[in-house]
């Protein structure tokens, strides 16, 4: 087994025992990134010096038999919309090309405290607005399973980095599926925690009432390990909740005997790809074999979720992105005639088309005379959608459905039709609207050899149960062990 292919738990053990030296490991990963990433384009920046310095510190600690952190020496990649002190954080936008935050995001601080090694920052759709990572202001990330395909988005860089062994784990953010959908498309495990479970402090806001930082890992146990580090109350985020964080790894093998699994009929309707449908059928059979009860349920307002999402997320985004004005940081247009002109030029030159479209849509929904018809209406329907889940969770312990209606799509295929792109997130959006946790894990392959992901949704703050349910499936299957064979020739220019 190659060094890159170990899980975080395995690596951590080998580092603590002294079998692998953190500096060697980090060097090898940096080398690997330098060789492979030009074909994948997962990273926007690599923190070679900082990573090696940190690795040396941890190595010293181990040599001196000092205590080390929970993620001692484990390499991790971070989506470039999460602030890293002293290191570029661009949101894949030209408007933040030279932005260097003077502070660390809460999650970054926790990773550093637990001795993780931050390898670099990964690509995304500009400001996390997209489902394919094609909207990046800098580069297009390839799906490691097939470079003609998108890795999903918006956390496509993080998903591709883990899938292509360019990092052992990664952080992403999920506003409407931006962790779960690329995890599914890249064949890795992605967790979107409950809204309020992980601090958003330092996550560059897109849709503030929906955004949540999530994890990319090779398997479910690693997801538990990483979530353990980043979950928990943070004083700097008023919406982060002081709910105790359980030990996610303990009893992860509790099994699913007697568990009630809900299957929402709305998620298995027209538009679902046949391969995905078949994969899900196998999943349900497996769970039944393991002793779970599969129950048909209905989430009647599902069809409205995308419409609600595009009002709420974009209304919030239009105001969140108002701060990029060329005054205190970021890009400023070189020539302008007065302050208003400076704003307009800066923003027109700095933002890509998708971002402009969403800012305009959001401003429209909030503008005088339209607030009630759009934002308020959407907020009411949002409550109905949450009500669907509340009702369902009275009858079932979790909900299982596909993560994405299709196994993947090709680069450029959906770029011209924004609405079609928005519909890629139809199965992931409802969880964000309701604030509930979700996990996506590999459950099969399409005819073209692309990975297929299943999604498990649970009640607020029941990540532990989701991990147990996911692990029950994972340990019976080996989809997560399959590795993409990188087809360099196709991507080499």
């Amino acid at each position: 087994m190659r060094l890159f292919e170990y899980t975080a738990l395995q690596i951590k053990e080998k580092i603590i025992s002294g079998e692998i030296r953190p500096v060697d490991l980090t060097k090898q990963f940096i080398e690997q990134i330098k060789n492979i990433d030009p074909h994948v384009q997962a990273y926007l920046s690599i923190h070679e010096d900082e990573a090696l310095k940190k690795a040396a510190q941890i190595q010293k600690k181990i040599e001196n038999a000092e205590n080390v952190g929970f993620l001692a020496g484990v390499p991790i990649a971070i989506k470039d919309n999460i602030c890293t002190k002293g290191l570029h954080t661009t949101c894949a936008s030209k408007i933040l090309r030279n932005f260097i935050p003077p502070y660390d995001a809460c999650v970054v601080k926790r990773l550093k405290e637990e001795d993780a090694i931050i390898l670099g920052k990964t690509n995304l759709d500009e400001f996390a607005m997209g489902s394919s990572t094609e909207n990046s202001g800098y580069k297009i990330t390839r799906n490691p399973w097939n470079p003609e395909y998108v890795p999903g988005g918006s956390s496509g860089g993080s998903a591709a980095a883990v899938a292509a062994d360019l990092s052992i784990m990664a952080l992403g953010s999920d506003t409407g599926g931006s962790v779960r959908q690329p995890a599914a498309l890249c064949g890795v495990v992605g967790v979107k925690p409950t809204y309020g479970r992980v601090s958003r402090f330092g996550l560059i806001a897109f849709g503030s009432s929906l955004d949540q930082i999530g994890t990319f890992t090779r398997d479910v146990k690693d997801a538990a390990l990483l979530l353990q580090v980043i979950a928990g109350h943070d004083f700097h985020d008023s919406t982060s909740m002081p709910v105790p964080v359980p030990d996610y790894l303990r009893e992860i093998d509790a099994g699913v005997r007697g568990l009630r699994i809900g299957i929402p009929k709305e998620y298995f309707s027209a538009g679902l790809n046949e391969d995905v449908h078949n994969a899900l059928k196998n999943v349900l059979r497996k769970y039944e074999q393991l002793g779970a009860n599969v129950i048909d349920i209905s989430l009647p307002h599902t069809e409205y979720a995308v419409a609600v999402y595009y009002i709420v997320a974009n209304a919030e985004a239009s105001s969140n992105l108002a701060r990029y004005d060329g005054v205190r940081y970021g890009y400023r247009a070189s020539k302008s005639n007065g302050i208003v002109d400076m704003y307009c030029r800066t923003r027109s030159e700095g933002f890509g088309n998708e971002v402009k479209r969403r800012i305009m849509l959001g401003n429209y929904a909030l503008s005088s005379g339209y607030y009630d018809a759009y934002y308020l209406k959407a907020s009411r329907v949002r409550n109905l959608i949450k009500g669907d889940f509340d009702g369902a969770f009275q009858k079932v312990d979790c909900i299982i459905c596909p993560t994405s209606p299709v196994p993947g799509f090709k680069i450029g295929e959906r770029a011209k039709n924004p609405l079609e792109m928005y519909l890629s997130d139809i199965y992931t959006i409802p969880a964000n609207l309701a604030g509930i946790p979700g996990i996506s894990l590999p459950c099969g392959f399409s005819k073209e050899g692309l990975p297929i992901g299943m999604q498990i949704l649970g009640k607020h703050f029941e990540e532990k149960k989701l991990l147990q349910i996911a692990y029950a499936f994972e340990r019976e299957t080996d989809f997560h062990r399959k590795k993409p064979v990188l087809k360099f020739s196709l991507t080499q220019k």
Binding site: S209, R328, Y331, R332, I339, R347, N363, Y364, S379, N383
Partner: protein
């Protein structure tokens, strides 16, 4: 819901975004499509439903009035596109 060029120009200005004529046309089409899709919400009667803008069920998150350290002037201005002395510099503002 169809929106026209005038609407696009108004929203673009609210958004402080400048659009070329071609971009305006594209955005009129794209935003009209999206808004037509969103129309489906009107099929639901939501009069009795309370709007929900936040999913966490908590209130009164408040901090004590205790001083914390600020950035240094150098740190504050580090990312600024233009400064003059201790200030941030912007094109002339007319009140």
């Amino acid at each position: 819901m169809k929106i026209g060029k005038k609407d696009i120009e108004y929203i673009a200005h609210l958004s402080r975004i400048e659009l070329s004529e071609t971009e305006k046309e594209t955005f009129v089409c794209q935003l009209s499509d999206i808004l037509s899709y969103i129309e489906k919400l009107n099929r639901l009667n939501t009069e009795a439903v309370k709007p929900m803008s936040c999913t966490v069920n908590a209130t009164n998150v408040l901090r004590d009035d205790i001083l914390e350290s600020s950035l240094s002037l150098e740190e504050a201005q580090f990312n600024a596109p233009a400064t003059k002395g201790v200030f941030f510099k912007v094109p002339k503002v007319i009140e």
